[in-house]
Symmetry: C2
Amino acid sequence: MLRTRFTELFGVAHPITQGGMQWVGRAGLVSAVANAGALGFLTALTQPTPDDLRAEIARCRGMTDKPFGVNLTILPTIRPVPYDEYVDAVIDGGVGIVETAGNNPEPYIVRLKAAGVKIIHKCTAVRHALKAEALGVDAVSIDGFECAGHTGEEDVPNMVLVPCTADRLSIPFIASGGFGDGRGLAAALALGADGINMGTRFMATRESPVHDNIKRRIVEADERQTALILRSLRNTSRVHRNSVAEKVLEVERKPDVAFADVQEYVAGVRGRRTYEEGDPEAGIWTSGMVQGIIRDVPTVNELVTRIVEQAETIIRSRLSGLLVA
Amino acid sequence: MLRTRFTELFGVAHPITQGGMQWVGRAGLVSAVANAGALGFLTALTQPTPDDLRAEIARCRGMTDKPFGVNLTILPTIRPVPYDEYVDAVIDGGVGIVETAGNNPEPYIVRLKAAGVKIIHKCTAVRHALKAEALGVDAVSIDGFECAGHTGEEDVPNMVLVPCTADRLSIPFIASGGFGDGRGLAAALALGADGINMGTRFMATRESPVHDNIKRRIVEADERQTALILRSLRNTSRVHRNSVAEKVLEVERKPDVAFADVQEYVAGVRGRRTYEEGDPEAGIWTSGMVQGIIRDVPTVNELVTRIVEQAETIIRSRLSGLLVA
């Protein structure tokens, strides 16, 4: 077992989170993560309405008596999203932990804090982490350039971002992006983080609700098969590099491309259908560089147990064994 | 002290190298690194002729009786470079260790090996590391996306690149890019590397031959002040983000830009003058994201000692202290 500021603060056994993943963060996976002693997050916007989120929270609670959280990501969207009603669902549902992310979550942070909910704010830059700390969040999840999904525009990887954050942030924080095994967990702890967040690694588990073909593709892919799309909109997203992602990049490279065209094109090829129907070339879907070290589809419990055990062995045997008087 | 496959193989006290840096890797710095128990490399092409390299090797030997090496980087150049004669200078000078880098160093690897020189090959991708291993090099220096200078085109940061390399390479390897303190050293060892290489961190030392203004700029800059130039030529280089770098990016962004124009523009603003004359805005110069954690200009010996001590403390106290039964 590894005890850090993170495990103490959130009352979980292991310093590992399964952060918000659109279409993936559902009760089956999140409860499995909770039962394994890590901290999982339902993704609020995976549920089409706030009432669906209420039902999903209840479903998750039926499958675990351990803590779990809800991710609330605020992003530019074409049709308005009733964020306040999703926040109501979280508070009414008695969820004690929320992961906030995206543009300007300040009003929701304020509301959640007032309701006594613990908040982990996810961001990609040290100054945003400091801003969140000033707003009173309880912890930060700092997202390196390696991460799947929204990378931000500054491209600072965790080897640099984590120590930069450790030097300036006082509250506990976990590192996100590029993590999939005990080596990464030990490295993150060495760099000053209090734990790790994993997305892609949890997608490729037995309890993850994505199609087996998608899990297989993650296992087969190496660290180079991701692409950064939507950089032209300054809304960069790391996705699996398939033929659709290549097409998006082609559209973006056109010198006279209109932003609306890119946005519309991506909206048309993005979404949950790929995950559910299982054609890895059918649309845009998210995966991270860490797929380079993902080689199996274990149960969540097997995964969490082996990551913690590997990190412990690295600390006790490998690293301590390098020390000479 | 930390003993790894790297320190054993090269007969040095610490698992740290100061790899090749054009204009910077000179006898004063390299001998200081050797005397501190780490492994420094003179940069062959910093010397205008092979005979100048012979003289620099002799000068370095006059300042240390510890092992040091020479970096030989093979890059596309406008005028032809007599690489074979530089290799002669290395072999004749009795230098026992060479760091190779760049495009197709195979013929030089073969020659150096035949002469009994130990080789560390520097590269940015796992498959290139495996190729070098097959050619018989003794060790690899794997260069993550964080690194200063030539990043390659695949943008895989060390948090992912190091474990991917560890899983497939048999010979010892060190990680390069983003390293500047004991946290990074401990993290690299946790991820499976046998040591670290540092460039920017060694540039900002007392013995480094760059102007004090450049060292001061590195100390002042944060992790975001680097830029990737020459991506349009697929010869990407991470440099300090100053007004000249911004101008290069502007030239590269033009939809109808000719490659030759970019190359010519950069050739005109690149080089050692900036380092020697000390105007950080006068030209293109190299620095890495690790500047975000560089806050002083210590002697090389102070730096190496404190990095090793910090890594030891992290292993002995911080990491071991997180373990609970």
